[in-house]
Symmetry: C2
Subunit: 333 residues, 2 copies
Amino acid sequence: MRIVLDAMGTDDAPRIEVAGTIEALREHESDVEVILVGDRDAIEAELATHESAPPRISIYHAPDRVQGNDSPASVIRKKPHSSIVVGLELQRKGEADAFVSAGSTGAVMATSLFKLKTLPGVDRPAVGTLLPTAKEQCLLVDAGANIDCKPQHLVQFAHLGSIYAREIMGRTEPRIALLNIGKEPGKGDELSAAAFRVLNREDGLNFVGNLEGGGIIEGVCDVIVCDGFVGNVLLKFYESVAQFITSLIKKKLDALTENSLNFEEIFRILDYSETGGAPLLGVGGVSVICHGGSSSKAIRNAIKVAVQAVRSDMVAQTASRLAASMSDTAEEI
Amino acid sequence: MRIVLDAMGTDDAPRIEVAGTIEALREHESDVEVILVGDRDAIEAELATHESAPPRISIYHAPDRVQGNDSPASVIRKKPHSSIVVGLELQRKGEADAFVSAGSTGAVMATSLFKLKTLPGVDRPAVGTLLPTAKEQCLLVDAGANIDCKPQHLVQFAHLGSIYAREIMGRTEPRIALLNIGKEPGKGDELSAAAFRVLNREDGLNFVGNLEGGGIIEGVCDVIVCDGFVGNVLLKFYESVAQFITSLIKKKLDALTENSLNFEEIFRILDYSETGGAPLLGVGGVSVICHGGSSSKAIRNAIKVAVQAVRSDMVAQTASRLAASMSDTAEEI
């Protein structure tokens, strides 16, 4: 099979792409070939830095470069010789079997849509991303390609995710969950409440119901369905949190002297009860909301929040500042 | 000042509430009193388990119990003698200065709205929650009270958050960010694009622009504004991730024998590059999307994803299964 790799996609292209290709070819059987699409000179120069000339790599020249400020829909027209357009065209013509790119998600999405078309029954292609969980990885659909979704789009994502989980991830009867802000049927915003109703009686899906944000990490389903806005925010947040915590741990490890490893600070940062209760903002009084699962420490801190609010005369301050600072936004919008 | 604490809110009420109250009173000056509202017998029994009878605690009896299946709006009518309604009524009458509850967020919100009213200029009260970041804590508004928001609601949340950050959190000129799926103006769904336009020219706000999910943990702003659906999912996810990672570390520490502490497994789980590329689902071909910041390992894994997709004939499988399994959802909705 022939895999087209957009060699110009990463921030450090084509160095990263070339290295990744060589690593990939070492672990795959000889029926896998990689076509690097992009600036031929740059790719050749990069390949030359690797000692053993790797087999099963070819280059397909594509001189245009997609930039961050190119609008995704315009790429196909304005950058016809870019690695994204050229690479996907190779697949359209049957000269390649797959396309891989670290370039602009929007441009890859728009060009894929144009070159590869959608499958029957699919209004919008979705991006599925694997999330690490406490158990197996879980597929998040849509991870950012589709915003302002309609309920039927989420239902399509469920089908697409279910099929992918079964065929590629090897899950028998994949469990499909709808990301929502409550477990009970009927919970959520208009979109998720409507999607729930359809998913719940949809044939061919093992729909397991609503899943709250706190359940994602548990790994109790195979596919999580959501609008791309939520999916994108969640995904980027997850990545950054993992990086953040890893860096915290690494810093600690660097400072490690025998038996002196101290995780107190990490625990403190991650300890949610440190933050206490959540103030209800905008009411004519002080109302602080805590978790059902609060610890006594959380309650203590919530009380502190209330004390601070009262001490600073928050309500009156808020009222007077609101009056002073708010323009007539309601009329403006 | 008198703080009303809903003594019946936590999963382990009133044990947790009583313990938290005693801890709180130890650290606050003598002008702080706590009124525990709830089942008098249960609270008294719990107080009796504490050695030194704590001063500045009083009990206000409220026999009704709000249950998880009570609809938030009905609580005030159906459970007038519940700790939430009674506690907030104390504030309405001027017999208390603040209300703290770990009970149903919806019920606290609805009852607060009824008893305390909204401030002029506020259509919907919002829940602000402090998020730990790499720097200072950051206020997330709205954390789940308001779904299906209109742009003017997000603008109101921005003002409410700004005021809270200045008055309670002590931030001078609080930086307000709009949670979004891109940094540039105009990015996002209809709601966030419209909210951006207003926030960008709103007086009295230090609006710093869009913030992506990956930027939250950096702590580069004081207030993050978003719809409550996104806020709720994000918040619950954050909490669970932190707990998950902490438990991973603790497990490792429990198994610690001299110098043998091995974080490789944690790093592996948190290492996003393990998961490789994201397949674009629903198009008539294979299109795998990676990050701009991919490592060679990520590219290698993305290629693996593409290989698996091709090897399993994903596109044809998807097309045929879609045809077989999808009901006519478009018409049903």
